[in-house]
Symmetry: C2
Subunit: 382 residues, 2 copies
């Protein structure tokens, strides 16, 4: 294998692919990056067995300055290879391998030799065979990810809850995540064919969506392909493969309260800052709890009983309707939920001090099926 490529473009692709590569792995070859040169271009692959990222650099893309002299493939340790390419002295780098699988990177006067492994010994990626394809609206889908992913569970005891659940329906996708203490639900409008609208629901691991959100730029297209056990995202020259989470996702619709006895309207950011202040004090105590005391004309936020001291703040609301209520909750969960509303005015609906509270934007979107809900289970303090 021998090729020459522009160093900046090569570095950028190495960084994207390396997002999938673990620094330590029980299968040692997975700490490596697979580089394959064909007449058509260079393919880079990184994987941690759960998620794989593939990048194709075409000889026809003039911006890459790619010239292939000899085809072949090799696997080299990703971390050190990336560092070397990043720090080489000139704008071009020539990569060459020999029969002993030693890779040589040459740039200007600098020559690095790295011991590698035969590319044939790297696990193969699955063939993509599926007619279940959807073009996703990139900006909205990234919103769906960022507004739900924090509610996904970290507990491996119920693996299906560690992902975000996607349901494809007529005209929209619904994303749901829950760790059973809180629930996030975002609907986004998506144009579907009749076939697509009948896709089975899937649950995608948190890590996959995190990487997708980081890698994809707002102006790029995302194509999602669903197979029996995998989901594949195509973004320009990048392909992200991920396993799906198995297991029955709970029916979350029935958890959403349909009526409220108390409703308040306030600004998400102002409330966020007050919760953030109060959490300074709740973090000091054993129980990380803040209390909201809503009366006819006042909302009082407080933290009591920490050995260090207490916090108290009167919250200014745009409106308070319904019954007085006292309710306690985890301020960190509330902060995550409030942040997802990006500073708009919100409505918080309460049913009782032991039933979940529901947060939604005050102004509904003019587009149908474009809605964000955050559900938070209170903490019983008495």
């Amino acid at each position: 294998m021998k090729f020459t490529i522009g160093r900046a473009a090569f570095t950028a692709q190495l960084i994207d692919v390396s997002r999938a590569i673990p620094s330590k792995a029980t299968i040692p070859i997975l700490t490596g990056i697979k580089i394959t040169a064909t007449k058509e271009g260079i393919t880079l692959i990184g994987s941690d067995a759960e998620i794989s990222i593939e990048s194709f650099l075409s000889v026809q893309d003039d911006s890459l300055g790619l010239e292939i002299e000899e085809t072949g493939s090799i696997v080299v340790t990703a971390r050190i290879f990336n560092d070397i390419v990043r720090k080489l002295p000139t704008t071009k780098v020539t990569i060459e391998t020999n029969e002993q699988f030693i890779l040589t990177a040459t740039s200007g006067e600098a020559i690095f030799s790295l011991n590698g492994t035969d590319g044939q010994s790297y696990p193969r990626l699955p063939e993509i065979e599926s007619d279940r394809k959807i073009n996703l609206p990139t900006v909205l889908f990234k919103e769906l990810i960022s507004q739900t992913i924090f509610s996904a569970s970290n507990q491996e005891s119920r693996p299906v809850l560690t992902g975000v659940h996607l349901m494809m329906n007529e005209g929209h996708i619904t994303g749901v995540a829950t760790d059973s203490h809180r629930l996030s639900r975002r609907q986004i409008p998506v144009e579907f064919t009749t076939d697509q609208a009948n896709f089975e629901a899937i649950t995608i691991p948190k890590k996959t969506l995190n990487e997708l959100e980081r890698i994809v730029q707002d102006d790029q297209m995302i194509e999602m392909i669903v197979t029996e056990q995998q989901v594949i995202f195509l973004i320009d020259n990048l392909t992200i493969y991920s396993r799906l989470l198995e297991g029955n996702y709970p029916d979350t619709d029935r958890l959403l309260p349909t009526s409220h006895t108390t409703e308040i309207v306030l600004n998400a950011d102002q409330f966020l800052h007050a919760i953030d202040r109060a959490s300074l004090m709740s973090h000091q105590g054993k129980n990380n709890v803040v209390q909201l005391d809503i009366t006819d004309d006042n909302i009082d936020l407080s933290v009591q009983g920490s050995s260090l001291g207490s916090a108290n703040e009167s919250i200014s609301a745009k409106s308070i309707t319904g019954e007085p209520i006292k309710i306690s909750f985890n301020p960190d969960y509330m902060k995550d939920a409030l942040r997802s509303f990006s500073g708009v005015d919100i409505n918080i609906g309460f049913t009782s001090s032991v039933r979940p509270l529901l947060i939604s934007a005050l102004e509904k979107s003019e587009t149908p099926n474009n809605e964000l809900l955050q559900l938070l289970t209170p903490i019983r303090t008495h």
Copy 2:
């Protein structure tokens, strides 16, 4: 105690003083910040017993918006107090204490109560009694710190080497740091009176100088006061107290080679980048060593014998004079030394492959006693 103060100015002073405050301490009161209100203003004190920082906020400084209603003093946990003040909702904060030493911070609708301790129980700072005072040239003294401090030892077995040694002489201060593998020496010109030029040399702990360098702005004045066991830095409204390191500092002048058998001239940054690249490979091996092979017309930098691979680079020099030489050294020490020259052309003098190499700027300063030297002991590889 009761006073009102502008929150931004108060936060800035809390941050400076808190630099001295440890997050955990064997003497619990030292995790606190002492706040004292007198008719003249507010004094803040933080300390870890080795270094103490005091800030005085005067009622006469209009920019502080300081109004004192009641004098007194209290100690509260620094970390949480700083976080609270930083996150309060309005531009002013009112601090009030009661007889149970509970501090109340009020800002807009937010009220925080913090359990504190009587300010009388906080250790007293030493009285400054000394006529040994020097006005330091701020920018030059900060250079002296940053260009020597990395060579100070981390080994507590010889405490005096963990600091920077300062020698006051006619017209200049010399700062030296060494961990016995390398040595940094910076001279800066300073106007002295005859008395000052006869000050005894002192050794200041690394941490003190690090904090001083971070706190002092280039346009601020530094006054240094030396007492029997302490050094005190006065910077506007801030006072930094530090103990001095005890013990005889080694006579380092005799370590500096006076003649060389080989000399090379090259650019500090270009060489730094090449060493940085080569160190990617040397960090993989057991011995973190790079080798320089200097012949009549070539300088070759290489790393051999790592299980992962090797690195090789031909270094472009502006001149090579003297005998051919092969010499090996720790690339991380070399990187520290090279960075201190900020990209100028440098001269590296060699005597033999087992004697220290000496780095100096090619162009000498027009000002007398304004010189930087870096000494690096090679590693014997045969």
